[in-house]
Amino acid sequence: MSDLLNAFAIAGKAFFGFQAIFFALLAVGLNVHFGYTGLLNFGQIAFAMVGGFGIAISVSQWGLPFWVGVLVGILAAVVLALLLGLPTLRLRADYLAIVTIAMSEGLRLVFRSVSATPVTGGTRGLSAFNGDFIALAPWDTQHRYHILGTTWSGGELWVALVGWVLVTLFSLLVWQLMRSPWGRVVKAIREDEDAVRALGKNVYAYKMQALVLGGVIGAFGGMVYAVNTGSAIPDQYQSANTFLAYAALILGGAARVLGPVIGSMILLFILQFADTGLRAMISNGVIPSELLSSTDVAQIRFVLVGIGLMLLLVFRPQGIFGDRREVMLDAR
């Protein structure tokens, strides 16, 4: 029983931790792209990577102040969105999907390559760029705080606080945009581009704005991740993260302001709870070790999440916050 409680507490930390923030920001960005505008961006992690490395390279390589690094990260995300969008947004949705997934993998491989090592640190990445930010914390960042059975360092708490403020701000931004006429145009583009063109809207410009906005939000996710871990390593930014963010978005409900946020929190909770819980059950002998060893747990938890998502899509296709009527319209 105490094992279970312990697993619950650790999962609770994941629920509020920096990874949940990371996925929440990725998914909020994807929600702008996919949920509202209908853009299939399979390379969201690339935006996170340029965001994280924007800070890392600016601070530890170029010696710029931290906040300039943040600006560099945002700018890099804008440039990336323009590069991806300019050639593809005039084409069908599939082309953006192809280009973004290729770009995200390609960019990661370039960042970890030997020739890029002088700038990006190659496979070892960069570190020691978050000092200025951690120093801003109003409490002692070296001290360890015990909250509800979990241990947080002061730095973690600070990043989590700022991270959740960012998530809140971006959620408010998305909420305000999507209830405005701008949001109406963007949602209409998701439904049918040609109809929107025939009504005198510059579809290309709207898609580009949405791509940039979602990309910048994703870049902030990468910054939170890099600042919390204190290092930026290209291989942290695997494409699988994009798809986990999609899973979080669909879990919470696409085209809903809070869908991606709650979805990410629950996704991280389930992953962590399955991990700690299964390990506890194996060590207790509840699960015989012939059936499952603790080394399998890391994979099994994703299987559990997959089964959970399948059940969700069968019984609640709109996700947690979605509107069933709205989702069912597609089936007609």
Partner: protein, 349 residues
Amino acid sequence: MPAEPAAHGAHAARPDEPPAGSAPASAGTEKAAPRRLAQAALRDLPWEIGVAKPDPTVVVDGVTRTFGGLTAVSVDHLEIQRGGITGLIGPNGAGKTTLFNLLTGFDQPDTGTWSFDGRSLGKLSPHQVARLGVVRTFQLTKALSRLTVLQNMLLGAQGQRGESFLRALVPGTWRRQETENTEKAMELLQRFKLDAKSDDFAGILSGGQRKLLEMARALMSDPQVVMLDEPMAGVNPALTQSLLGHVKDLREEGMTVIFVEHDMDVVRDISDWVVVMAAGRIIAEGPPESISQNKAVVDAYLGAHHDAPLTVDDEDRVLAEAEASIAREGHPDQGVISSDRPHPRRTDR
């Protein structure tokens, strides 16, 4: 840039109207005295391909579009009379929809120029054409399913401040305009009898209601030219009548209507001028009554050697021809007026 008010077209058409019996263009004169200015203006024109209209709004010159070896559209010259309803008919694959796509910027031609009110529309993208006041609907209705009916309507409004990214963040800059647009949208929805559905998703509407919504949405932009691609396709007969009424209303408000239709009864009923296309070319032009007598048209529809026994449709056509010739004998100086009378509807089938 917002479109000009709809009434503009009506004023422009005024010089051509007959001196007697002219009522104001606005104010629901729909049933009382339909003013068919365009018909009057077009009355004395020769029934020739590419004939110059007294007051053209859309002019097409030498437009060709080929897909590989297939020439989809090859139009030498075409003028569309302002304030009138021009029917565009032709067998399947005649190039009607392609011509629509070219005129509205959804497709670019290989050669040719075309203009709207003297302004060239070549190289303009679809949204720029729409902003000039030329809106279109689609053959396969494009209701925006996961938006409500009202949101669909509001999307049609032009010059919305809240549609810019930065101003969208400051509701004060667009809230009043939004309220005005909502009022206008509800009025239009009432006219199209969709007001009860304003908060429903457009995706749950029936096919006919979607056609109505698409037309109403197009009207939100205060267009000067409305291009309807098969507005009656798949709509039940009762709703067809109401749609027809709405199309006639557009003319009463001074808009120019160009529509593609297959139902000859509909075409005869509402058009002032009919353009017939086949295999990408315009093969005939004239008032609706002239078309069924045209040998090229009959050949295009039925094949050059149609010796088969008459079908109900053919009987109707023959009947219409007879009527038209009787009408012409009765009024040799006026050409044909029979379409002003209600057309004898088929009772059986």
